[in-house]
Homo-oligomer: 380 residues x 2
């Protein structure tokens, strides 16, 4: 017997209580039951995103939500800056190019970041930039970009700051209103502990003003229309009802734990995972602030990281993930976000020790676990 | 105690077996488990849509799937014909206008249809029409439009036929390849007995050729890209995993029953519901072929149909639906699609007799039920 563990950098495990709530008979979205649910969810989402703005749920994946951010706030030919240091940044590039924007790419090597000063400088040099599009947590590299710094750079310009918070919402602190983020884009299947299929978007007043001018065509993802319905506490189109039911449950769980505690838990899990990996002689992939959502680990020369991923799957029934593009075969990535606790990190590090040994690497058994245990023993 | 019954014209009930399958731990979409699921689902969807083409699942609602049909096959300024005889036809109009198409509207009163000859004539008269967009089952009015006839009208022209089969797939026969439908648009929450949140699209060779020329911008809903991934049996973006798990279950249920039997069941349920309503002295709203997905019933003058809907909800815990726009207060609509059997029709008609009596209408108790029973007693 093996217990299956989903520890990829998303989708992430859904708590059984939430799965069973979602397995209740489907409710119709134009009933008092759904209205009560939507009232509660709307209020909970505002607290989660730390904003006074409406947070709009849309039936789509995270990529659909990213596209919604672009088509609602921009017009063909608009100049935008994309901070590119990973695979999800490349998705911003692909979306912006598909919608014929004038893209200024600020690139950094995978594993690194682009400092806010470079964004500020480019904003000054380029002029008439309409938007800066970034990831908060770049889950392809395990890096946490400095969204607060980017917000300081965009604040006094005409550019809006659009943040992919898919793998940071409910994981790392990103207080939208306090920092001055203009568009928060997120999705259900990471920190929110839900199945994939629900996108979330919140826009600042500055972003809504941009939306009023934006001429890119949109209908399904038209957020101004979505907002009109949300203001009436109604769904515009048939919502992803079962995920919305789950959303009510996870928002209650997050509120019961307390958002600051949720952030502290993720920080602790990520520090423990990093300590464990380093204690095993491995190198962390990020050259800068690591994301609390996942740990990206570089393997020693001569070892194929995809064999590590395979060992987790076949020998330990644990799904983790490998690198993409330039990092393929060079890194593996362990997710510890959402429904994740100390025990998950212990399980992952125990498996890592066994997998490395199976692959012929020298392993001091218990060293990785000891590294994590020391972090868990800290009183904070 | 009241047993809740969802009998709206969508979303529809999800079988408990399917809900519980969806409540199993989330699987990752880049694993052998998901690959096996996707292989099975892809083959099952082709049989369901009766096509040799790939049927592409997209994480979105039915409206998102409708938009996908438009943005993948058309270019700004393209002339299109929309057959408009209901609220969902108006959604085609809204989408086409949002994407700046040149719309020729062929209107008929709600409850009626546009004969294929009128479409053929307009195609000849207008010239250079790129697409004809229709509903198969218009669930706002309970009418089934003549898709086979429309396909004959478009077949020898350059126009593609785009069919909203959201409330007909798995309900009424719409053999895509045999009839020559160019784009079938559907979604999870009607005949497929699943929660909302998954769109389905299939394109003919003629539609794929149109897609190759179409210049409307698209990224999330780019079906040519989706097809490339499907051909590798891979998901392009994170799929709505839990609904895909449910989809495997319902496809197995449909295959076990047999698609022709599924169509016969819906035909029988709709005939029984109509017979019951007429036996109670009510008038059916459709002036033409009724949809087997739902029954739209006009109420006697002086009675507000929304009171009937309310009576079903408050006295009988049954969700049905009312009219929209011009039919508001004038009709009520009972869904009998997807996970629906004789017993559901009996329950709905029993409630209808009680609700009408509560509203002061003369009711011959049992007459509606007798009408349905006679249909159920027919040997077919």
């Amino acid at each position: 017997m093996k217990k299956y563990q989903l520890m990829a950098p998303g989708p992430t495990p859904v708590p059984s209580e939430v799965l069973l709530a979602m397995a209740r008979p489907i409710i119709h979205h134009r009933t008092p039951e759904y209205a009560a649910l939507f009232t509660e969810v709307r209020a909970g989402l505002k607290r989660l995103v730390q904003t006074a703005q409406e947070v709009l749920p849309v039936a789509c994946s995270g990529t659909g939500a990213m596209e919604a951010a672009v088509v609602n706030t921009l017009s063909p030919g608009d100049r935008v800056i994309v901070v590119n240091a990973g695979a999800f940044a490349q998705r911003w590039l692909a979306i912006c190019r598909a919608f014929r924007l004038d893209v200024v790419e600020l690139a950094a090597p995978h594993g690194d970041t682009v400092p806010p000063a470079r964004v500020a400088e480019t904003l000054r040099a380029q002029g008439s930039v309409r938007a800066v599009l970034v990831q908060h947590s770049e889950s392809s590299t395990g890096v946490l970009h400095d969204v607060r710094g980017y917000a300081e750079a965009t604040r006094r310009t005409d550019a809006i700051l659009v943040v992919d918070a898919v793998s940071s919402l409910g994981i790392a602190d990103v207080p939208m209103d306090a920092w001055g983020v203009d568009v928060v884009v997120s999705a259900s299947q990471k920190g929110l502990m839900l199945p994939p299929g629900l996108g979330l978007l919140a826009l600042s007043d500055k972003a809504w003003a941009a939306a009023a001018r934006a001429t890119l065509p949109r209908f399904y993802l038209d957020l101004a229309e979505e907002r009109k319905y949300a203001a009436k506490n109604e769904a515009r189109f048939t919502p992803a009802v079962s995920i919305m039911v789950g959303l009510r449950e996870v928002l209650r769980m997050i509120e019961a734990e307390g958002l600051p505690n949720v952030f502290r838990r993720h920080d602790r899990l990520s520090r423990a995972t990093r300590a464990g990996a380093e204690a095993l002689g491995l190198t962390l992939f990020p050259k800068t602030t690591p994301s609390p959502a996942l740990t990206a680990v570089a393997v020693p020369a001569g070892l194929d990281a995809d064999r590590v991923v395979e060992g987790f799957a076949t020998q330990h029934a644990i799904t983790i993930d490998g690198g993409r593009g330039p990092t393929k075969g060079k890194i593996f990535r362990i997710g510890h976000m959402g429904y994740a606790t100390d025990t998950d990190v212990i399980i992952a590090l125990a498996a890592l020790e066994q997998v490395l040994a199976d692959l012929g690497q020298p392993v001091d058994f218990g060293a990785g676990l000891r590294g994590a245990q020391k972090v868990f023993a800290e009183k904070s």
